[in-house]
């Protein structure tokens, strides 16, 4: 038990995490490429045409995975932030920082594809639907996190301030979602669900799942690649960085 504990903490040191991340990036890139490739093939050639929404429904194969990933990444970011505050590890905050841009990108993509789904289906690019509105607020939360970290020069303070903001955000997300939902039902606004109306077949579900796993592997690969740059920048004064072959170059 004790030795396992020590092993975990060993990886929380940037000097050991950096090469580990370097080995994992190509692995997850390949997984992502294969899964997304299979997912794309399935979304266009295997999944049948929907009897109600025609070919337009195929948008859900990117929309739903992007929306799921945007939420999932925020939670992961908050977990890393919490770990960083509790154990005072520098690496956790670097991971949170590396995840934020990818999460923001998926939030944006979920909104974008939601708009492209909405135009043909309900005739408007934007509808104040509870889910789309919450997704928009999630994007704002990501932007706030990135802006706060960008505004603080001292990396220690940036890490910890960002961690607190991420934790406050993750506590607020359910409250925000609940209140937006309440607001939406009260105003009898368009409550739309992309999956409703079309009977979700087994094939569609699998396609969505494979795409989500592909996006997940993609997020891991990109954030690990990004955290390597962050580590190099932060640790540039240490001897282990100066001894790296790519630095000696």
């Amino acid at each position: 038990m004790n030795s396992r504990l020590i092993n975990w903490f060993k990886f929380s040191s940037p000097a050991t995490y950096y090469p580990l991340a370097g080995r994992l990036v190509p692995l997850f890139s390949v997984i992502a490429l294969v899964l997304i490739g299979v997912g794309l093939y399935m979304s266009f050639f295997i999944a049948p045409t929907d009897y109600k929404q025609g070919e337009g429904y195929r948008i859900i194969f990117v929309h739903v995975p992007a929306a799921w990933m945007s939420m999932f990444i925020y939670v992961v970011m908050a977990v890393w932030s919490g770990l960083g505050l509790v154990f005072n590890t520098r690496l956790s905050a670097m991971m949170a920082k590396a995840l934020a841009p990818t999460g923001a990108m998926f939030a944006f993509l979920a909104l974008w594809t939601g708009a492209f789904w909405g135009k043909p289906m309900w005739g408007a690019w934007w509808v104040w639907d509870a889910r789309l509105t919450s997704e928009l607020i999630l994007l704002f939360l990501y932007i706030g996190f990135i802006a706060l970290q960008g505004a603080i020069d001292d990396p220690r303070r940036a890490d910890r301030a960002g961690a607190i903001l991420a934790l406050v955000g993750v506590v607020n997300i359910p409250i925000i979602y609940f209140s937006v939902k309440w607001w939406n039902t009260l105003h009898q606004g368009a409550s739309v669900s992309i999956t409703k109306g079309s009977s979700m077949g087994q094939v569609m579900l699998w396609t969505m799942l494979i795409m989500t796993l592909g996006f997940w592997a993609y997020s891991i690969a990109v954030s690990l690649a990004r955290v390597r740059s962050i580590i190099l920048e932060r640790e540039r004064d240490t001897t282990w960085v100066s001894e790296l072959p790519e630095v000696r170059g």
């Binding site: 704002f140 301030a161 903001l165 409250i175 925000i176 609940f178 209140s179």
Partner: protein, 222 residues
């Protein structure tokens, strides 16, 4: 312990009263923003009555954002904040005191002048009452949530805009239930549910935000 809280409240109010012009800027900002909407939308009374709750609430939200920047700034600059970090009483209690004082001088005046602004929009006396109650419940929650943002951005360049960027998304539930309460009253649905939700939000933010804000203060003042 409670004494420390009262001392902070009294001190901050005294300090605020010495610089009264600051208080009036927030208040006048609120009044001017609310009065601008009819000029932008047109004097059609039916439309105005419809948008009144939202307009007043959004303006109150923006006005309280405007005041947030000053919450900890003066104490940070003259070193009082560092002293507060060393005091034996819990920092969150002192933060609560500061937020209370801040609300008394910025949030409370908004709730007091709101009925006058509601008259511009032809709200019924009953709806005006709900507006005041919703602001009395909502603005302290706004100050509390805002305190986290103010503590996080303490001493940063462009802190004022950044605070709004961080805090506005977190304030959305308060806005929804605050404006919703007035709207529910106008449409005859009854404001009870919204007001209890606002109360719940206030209690939640009372419990958690002093803790988060004091943690943030420690990080920023280091």
């Amino acid at each position: 312990m409670f004494e420390a809280f009262l001392i902070i409240v009294r001190r901050d109010i005294t300090l605020a009263m010495r610089r009264r012009s600051d208080l009036f800027t927030t208040l006048f900002f609120f009044v001017i923003v609310v009065s601008l909407f009819p000029l932008g939308i047109g004097p059609e009374m039916n439309t105005l009555r419809l948008i009144a709750p939202g307009v007043v609430w959004v303006a109150a939200l923006l006005a309280s954002m405007l005041a947030l920047e000053r919450l900890f700034a003066a104490d940070f600059e003259d070193g009082t904040l560092e002293q507060m970090l060393l005091v034996p009483q819990p920092l969150s209690l002192l933060v609560l005191g500061k937020v209370t004082a801040h609300w008394l001088v910025t949030g409370l005046p908004l709730a007091i002048v709101a009925p006058l602004l509601g008259l511009q929009y032809d709200l019924s006396p009953e709806a005006l009452g709900v507006l005041v109650v919703s602001l009395l419940l909502g603005t302290p929650a706004l100050s509390l949530i805002g305190a986290i943002g103010a503590a996080l951005t303490l001493g940063l360049r462009g802190g004022g805009v950044l605070v709004s960027l961080l805090v506005l998304p977190l304030c959305i539930p308060v806005l929804i239930f605050g404006a919703g309460a007035v709207e529910a009253n106008v449409s005859g649905l009854g404001e009870q549910g919204h007001l209890s939700m606002l109360g719940a939000l206030l209690v939640l933010s009372l419990l958690f935000s002093p803790l988060a804000a004091s943690a943030a203060l420690r990080i920023s003042a280091e």
